[in-house]
């Protein structure tokens, strides 16, 4: 096409996180792992956390899902590094949406999935810790 404009489905930030996802992968010795699925569309998201002194030291994700699901998990794992567990418990998908500069309305659920995966990972961590503490 002769015209110079670049046409992409998502905005530049989302496209960047889709094309160059941050924190993609696994943490071999994760302290907490959350894996959730969106019944709506069948996306699956897995977040692994390394936690030290009640703070997120490192995070990784793997995602089966659309561009915005991948970008949401990439952005979510970026955002939470260094935060406390309590902060994560108050984490809202809106923060992901905002950091991504917005998502199409039908894709907001992808950011919800990221929030859920994160909280599931914290839950997993707390369950493990509780077990250890026992």
């Amino acid at each position: 096409m002769s015209d110079q404009k670049e046409y992409t489905l998502y905005n530049d930030t989302v496209m960047d996180h889709f094309m160059n996802p941050r924190n993609m992968g696994d943490l071999p010795e994760a302290d907490g792992v959350g894996e959730v699925g969106a019944a709506a569309c069948g996306d699956i998201m897995k977040i692994s956390l390394k936690i030290r002194d009640g703070k997120i030291e490192d995070a990784r994700f793997k995602t089966f899902g659309c561009g915005s699901a991948i970008a949401s998990s990439s952005m979510a794992t970026e955002l939470i590094k260094g935060r406390t567990i309590d902060e994560i418990k108050n984490f809202s998908n809106q923060e992901v949406v905002d950091a991504l500069g917005g998502l199409p309305p039908v894709k907001i659920h992808c950011s919800v999935l990221a929030e859920e995966a994160l909280k599931a990972a914290i839950e997993d961590y707390e369950k493990k810790n509780a077990a250890v503490a026992k």
């Binding site: 489905l9 019944a39 069948g42 699956i44 793997k62 089966f64 899902g65 561009g67 991948i70």
Partner: protein, 422 residues
Amino acid sequence: MKSVYLDHQASTPLLPEAFEAMRPYFTEAFGSPSSLHRFGLRVRDGVKTAREQIATLINAESPDDIIFTSGGTESANLAIKGFADANERKGNHIVLAATEHPSVINSIEYLEKHHGFTSTKVPVNAIGQIDPEAIRAAITDKTILVSVHLVNHDIGTIEPIKEISKITQEKGISLFVDAVAAAGWHPIDVQSLGCQLLSLSPHRFYGPKGVGVLYRSRKARVTSLIHGGVQENGRRAGTENVPAIIGAGVAAEVALRDMGDRIAHVSRLQKRLYDGMMSRIKFIKLNGPVPGPDRICNSLNWSTEFIEGEGQLLLFDLHGIAVASGSSCVSKSLKVSHVLSAIGLDHALAQGNIIMSLGKDNTEEEIDYVVETFTKIVDRLRTMSPMWQEFQEQKIDSVISPTGIGQSFTERAASVSGKPAH
């Protein structure tokens, strides 16, 4: 960057000949065909020629059997609702294939909701084919219409229309054939097909958007859906989209002339693409019939396991390759294509769906580039996929090539996802 268009089932570029034929109708022969002066009469003459060209493409008994609408969707609406309106004294039941296009399914749903109709969706087999005997079994004494498409828009299955029309003719019922995914890529002869209604969409074979066709045999009565003036013999009101009608006529004429060459060309590419994909990609499955007599020559529908369709589509796009997908992530309703559900495809495989449809201008080099690119895309998305990881770790099994190691992706996904759809 390369630019490879493999979405010809969405739309095609306008043929230069068609554009040239249309051009004078924009600024010079701009009259309304209803006008009685030269400006109108000249245009009326052009529309008449286009009607003949369309009639020839599908071997209609007469150009008078051709109704111009605004598109394939309106044609299906007119065929179904217009026929139902004109024939509701005779009965109120419609039989359709489960894999019909939404323009057919939703038109029938409208009749059910508002006009006291009922319908029976006839299931298809694993490659999307309908069993004519299942049509026969679904027909009741209230049935007035059977609706089966010639070619499925998603998975390319060619339906046994002649066998079905034997049954409808025997029963004295009309048959509507949505030929939108076929016209221009498959010979169509309404008389030998034995259908009374048939729709097509010229922008699918290098004609313009904004015009559709409904063939209607004199045996089938259809009343207008869009009310107003008496254009199209009272069957479709509104000032005609003259330039598009002219372009449709030319596109039909060229499609008929070049049909053999076009089919030969895209069949060859289809084969090359099929072979390339099957040999290069692991855990991939073709949906619909294998290339051959049961499949339209210009499309292939793939499910690639452990990865999702929108991501594939986006990465293709970043490589300059345009494809489609029936995955839920690409639909506004967040539902996977009902066609993929109807053939009983595993939900995760439906999520990994990509549709490639070929055109006359695609080349072998492009096909090779697509296959090459796809291998990279698949690797990349699988690296990101938690499911691929779990498959590697033998926690889940493949659906396409099961090794017997455990539950499938979809079973696993269902257990991971505990929440209702949002």
